[in-house]
């Protein structure tokens, strides 16, 4: 590091030597390259470099991949000129450099993109047309505040909905909590539960292990170093958690350390499968539960199950462990061996015909899993984002349960890899007086047809039936108003009707697809324009805290979330309770003091911490084993389930299966079973749409964040993956323009003809920005013109990987080219 060029470089605090400082737990900005200018590589030292008024400040990437990478923004003449990443760390794994991925590295291009919002605006055309006129901040805040007041007074607090939005998840003060704080002071708003990432697996793990939403329920991925075999179902950290602070680097390290065999089961030959797997087993989407049943058949019949574990720690494996009062023949063993109600033996041949995996391979895989001690089995969130994803997620968890791999080093629960978290605080949002909660994915119903939504049919919680329509939507840093929600055509119809939802407020940095549906559109600062405190997301091997500075002044009339919401609080007469008399900087200092309660070794003031920037803490060794205490003594440390044990058979689900109203082809069952679904692998073989369509997370974007950055579009263009066998029968060549369509919609996109996707399956990277042409055909590869608003049976989650489509070559455009 050339100190002349880095005015933010700060000497070590007095009395702290370098080693001591490192042990103390933090790494100072710029100390990693200990060599002086030029010394490192033996080139001429630049002793008289031109004096450039450049500063380097710490900032972060705050989008929802789960990593929150530290960035160093170079600033000259009030403009960001470069983005670099963490350069601290002494090479020791656990305090290593948290290297941002390509997305964070493109941040200046994102911040300066042409879609940037400049001024507050109000809608002038029909809702969704995207026609706006500039208004003043005073007018904007007057309208939003008076509409919020009017709607609460007219319809009640349950008419106010603060929509899901994960575009700003880092940044204690930039995050969503301040609006919640305001609206809670006004009587509250309708709640949602779950999210678009992991609704089904959350329900599955709750019913199986009593796991709580977003709490760690698994061994860390670094525990792969301690197993004999690692099996991943659809887990792709090489794309989803790809930065140097995410789990991908940990997996690489663990894999290198142990040389352990890795098997990836996925319809797509993901980058994780290509790079880390010894073997890829392609599987038809949505059929993982059938594979597990076939594996369980072999494990049980070849006596590879851990009977002691199943009897001591689990409910419902066999008759001996069934809860009282359940008729004979409903144990898991019965389901697998064909002595249950369906009388079907779940043999490998049965599973082969459903999954597309040869029966011999299923037998061998079962033997591999059954004899590897320990075996680390994890699933990503792709398999569960399906029409019957709860069953998929519960089924995958059956493998470690059957083989007794839960609660041991090198084993796992079957859930997605665990994480390490230092519990830094969030802004206190107060208590929401409204208890009613809807599944997040069902919000369009709450706008369109709210009075039909009930507890037993639609998963409404804390109320038998919804009695208030959603009339006010607050959409901050989110694109799930349309782009990331399903069935864009239908969703747009619902939103266009402004007699239903009467006021939509969108706060964003860009004219996103969702922003076009705003009534009032408010431009927010990006993280380059505001200072904040950012803590680790799903960090694996370390916790960290970044005290960032504003790199540049707010663009045009952009404002911070806090200043916007405080402007509303003043107008609504609750400023004192809302702000506690503090401005944004005051809140930062207040929250920083709260962080120091967690880590007292942090510098005394926020200003001093900003000079250092980044602080890291190594995860304590050895990696935490999930449910270790339960394994050691289940009586003293029961699980959070009604029985205190692992519930293979769930009495709660037995009850729900009898009381909930479900459409004919949906099912809830007490056991983790395979059930064919609507638009599943079976229907693909008989209906008009023969291809299963899934989505995948793509390096170009985090969901839809960064989706408009030209650098990223250049290095990773949007493309539909199609197998060469399917392409050949359709006369599709690589890079041809194709139409992907079903009854819900159509998108046009370039084809990636590849062997890396299973025949019969097409995948579109999710998150591309909806760009409909005059005929309503999307021209940008947005998957959600093809996805359905139907919910999954138990979690009422988003089954966005359950779709049937057809693909055709676009002939006229090919000719034009």
């Amino acid at each position: 590091m050339n100190r002349n060029r880095n005015p933010s470089h700060t000497p070590l605090p007095a009395g702290v030597n370098r080693r001591g400082f490192l042990k103390w737990g933090s790494i100072l900005a710029g100390t990693a390259a200990v060599a002086g200018p030029g010394v490192f590589y033996g080139l001429r030292a630049v002793t008289e470099s031109p004096v450039v008024d450049e500063k380097v400040v710490w900032t972060t990437c705050n989008v929802n991949c789960g990593s929150r990478c530290p960035l160093r923004a170079h600033v000259r003449d009030g403009l960001v000129t470069r983005i670099e990443t963490d350069n601290t760390g002494d090479g020791d794994f656990g305090t290593h450099e948290i290297r941002a991925c390509l997305r964070g590295r493109s941040m200046r291009r994102w911040a300066y993109s042409p879609e940037r919002l400049k001024y507050p605006m109000k809608r002038v055309g029909k809702r969704g047309e995207g026609r706006f006129e500039r208004i003043s901040w005073d007018e904007a805040l007057d309208i939003v505040s008076s509409e919020l007041r009017r709607i609460i007074d007219t319809y009640g607090n349950e008419a106010v909905y603060r929509h899901y939005g994960s575009g700003v998840l880092g940044g204690i003060v930039a995050r969503r909590e301040f609006f919640h704080r305001l609206v809670n002071l006004l009587g509250g708003s309708l709640n949602y539960y779950g999210d678009y990432s992991m609704a089904q697996i959350t329900a599955a793990m709750e019913y199986t292990y009593g796991a709580k939403y977003d709490e760690c329920n698994a061994n860390p991925i670094s525990d792969v170093a301690n197993c004999e075999l690692a099996v991943f179902f659809g887990n792709n950290p090489a794309a989803t958690r790809m930065s140097g602070g995410g789990s991908m680097y940990d997996l690489l390290r663990a894999r290198r350390k142990s040389g352990v065999r890795v098997i990836v089961i996925d319809p797509r030959f993901s980058d994780t499968a290509a790079t880390f797997a010894d073997e890829w087993i392609p599987i038809r989407p949505g059929t993982d539960a059938a594979l597990v049943a076939g594996l369980a058949f072999v494990l049980i019949t070849e006596k590879l199950v851990d009977e002691d574990f199943l009897h001591r720690y689990c409910v419902g494996y066999d008759q001996e462990t069934m809860p009282p009062g359940i008729p004979y023949g409903h144990a898991y063993r019965d389901y697998i061996l064909g002595t249950g109600p369906d009388r079907i033996r779940k043999t490998p041949d049965w599973a082969a015909s459903i999954t597309g995996i040869p029966a011999t391979r299923i037998r061998e895989l079962a033997r591999e899993i059954g004899t590897a001690k320990p075996c680390y089995i994890a699933q990503g969130w792709g398999p569960q984002r399906q029409a019957c994803g709860e069953q998929t997620a519960r089924s995958i968890a059956m493998l470690p349960i059957l083989t007794g791999n839960v609660g041991i080093q090198g084993g796992n629960t079957g859930d997605r890899e665990g994480f390490f978290r230092i519990p830094f605080p969030l802004v206190p949002e107060g208590e929401n007086p409204v208890r009613t909660s809807i599944p997040v994915f069902a919000w369009t119903r709450a706008v369109d047809d709210p009075l039909s939504m009930t507890a037993t049919r639609d998963g409404v919680r804390n109320k038998e039936q919804l009695d208030t329509p959603v009339k006010f939507i607050w959409n901050h840093a989110g694109n799930a108003l349309i782009n990331q929600h399903s069935d864009c055509r239908r969703t747009a119809e619902i939103l266009r009707d402004d007699t239903k939802c009467e006021m939509i407020v969108v706060l964003d940095n860009y004219m996103t697809s969702s922003a076009k549906f705003a009534d009032i559109l408010l431009p927010c600062c990006t993280c380059l324009e505001e200072e904040d405190i950012v803590f680790q997301g799903y960090a694996m091997e370390m916790g960290f805290l970044v005290c960032t500075e504003a790199a540049v002044a707010p663009f045009y009339e952009s404002r911070t979330l806090y200043d916007i919401v405080r402007g509303m609080a003043r107008r609504l007469g609750v400023d004192e309770e809302f702000s506690l008399g503090m401005d944004r900087r005051g809140w930062l200092e207040y929250m920083y003091a709260k962080c120091r309660e967690v880590k007292p070794e942090l510098p005394p003031t926020f200003a001093e911490a900003q000079k250092v920037g980044l602080f890291k803490w190594k995860r304590p060794d050895p990696p935490e084993v999930m449910y270790r205490e339960f394994r050691e003594n289940p009586e003293a440390h029961p699980l959070n389930t009604p029985s205190g044990r692992i519930e293979i058979f769930s009495e709660r689900l037995w009850e729900l299966a009898r009381t909930w109203e479900l459409p004919e082809d949906d099912s809830i069952t007490a056991l983790p079973e395979y059930h064919p679904t609507w638009e599943g692998a079976e229907q693909a073989r008989s209906g008009p749409y023969p291809l299963q369509l899934i989505g995948h997370h793509y390096k170009q974007r985090t969901h839809s964040s960064y989706g408009n950055v030209d650098w990223l579009q250049q290095v990773a263009p949007q493309e539909a993956w199609i197998n060469s066998l399917d392409a050949e029968t359709r006369d599709i060549r690589h890079n041809d323009m194709v139409r992907v369509f079903n009854d819900r919609g159509e998108t046009r996109v370039r084809a990636k003809v590849t062997e890396r996707i299973m025949p019969g399956v097409v995948t579109l990277p999710q998150g591309a920005w909806l760009k409909p042409d005059g005929n309503g055909v999307d021209r940008n590869g947005c998957i959600n013109v093809l996805t359905s608003l139907r919910t999954s049976p138990l979690a009422k989650g988003n089954p966005q990987h359950t779709n049937l489509v057809q693909v055709e070559k676009v002939r006229e455009e090919a000719e034009q080219c």
């Binding site: 590091m1 630049v46 290297r99 390509l102 493109s106 030959f269 290509a274 015909s353 995996i357 290095v715």
Partner: protein, 206 residues
């Protein structure tokens, strides 16, 4: 003093994330169409549908992140009619814009497509190993960016000592042409040079 600067790529660690490409674009303010570093996806194998409707396959894929290899025998230097392309005392191959006339002979000669034509300036441009960063004691932007540490930089002999003997994998050209300062540790599915088992599957990206 740097004598023979080289890159090392670890194909068993490269996940094809392209962070190196974006760090390079950012560092060099590259306009669209010019990429000093490019990540190609080499993939192949195939599928057999069995009578029972199941599938067997032998699919493989790996990524190759390639920039200028600052070759020992740089064909771009040899083919430059104006001496604009030079390999300097540190082993860095770079183009002198004062002398370059944009004839593009270097581009045609280079088997790695390292020199790139900038239509706006009418000159060739290329990776200079982030010479300014090296002068400041910092590694090249692409190397410092790599989340998996698959891409390394250093003195050729030091890299050989660290990572062992380099191997040539498909689709890299015969190193005898230019003697590239590129060391490659193959991953488990690497294919031998001139292999016909796979192909570059992302020509539109590079």
């Amino acid at each position: 003093m740097l004598k023979r600067p080289a890159f090392h790529i670890d194909l068993g660690a490269c996940i094809g994330c392209k962070t190196c490409m974006v760090a390079c674009i950012d560092k060099n303010d590259l306009p669209r169409g010019i990429l000093f570093r490019r990540v190609s996806e080499y993939s192949g194998g195939g599928w057999t549908r069995r009578k029972d409707g199941t599938f067997v396959q032998n699919v493989f894929a790996y990524y190759l992140s390639i920039a200028c290899n600052h070759c020992e025998n740089p064909i771009c230097v040899r083919s430059c009619p104006t001496t604009a392309m030079q390999k300097d005392e540190y082993g860095i191959v770079s183009v002198d814009p004062e002398k370059c006339v944009g004839c593009r002979y270097c581009e045609w000669g280079c088997p790695y497509s390292a020199p790139q034509y900038d239509a706006d300036s009418g000159k060739m441009t290329k990776c200079d190993l982030c010479r300014d960063y090296l002068e400041q004691g910092k590694p090249p932007a692409c190397v410092a960016a790599c989340p998996t540490r698959a891409l390394q930089f250093g003195e050729y002999d030091d890299l050989v000592a660290r990572f062992g003997k380099s191997e040539v994998v498909a689709p890299l050209p015969d190193p005898a042409i230019t003697q590239p300062n590129l060391l490659c540790t193959p991953g488990p599915t690497a294919q031998p040079p001139k292999s016909r088992n796979g192909k570059v599957c992302n020509p539109e990206e590079i």
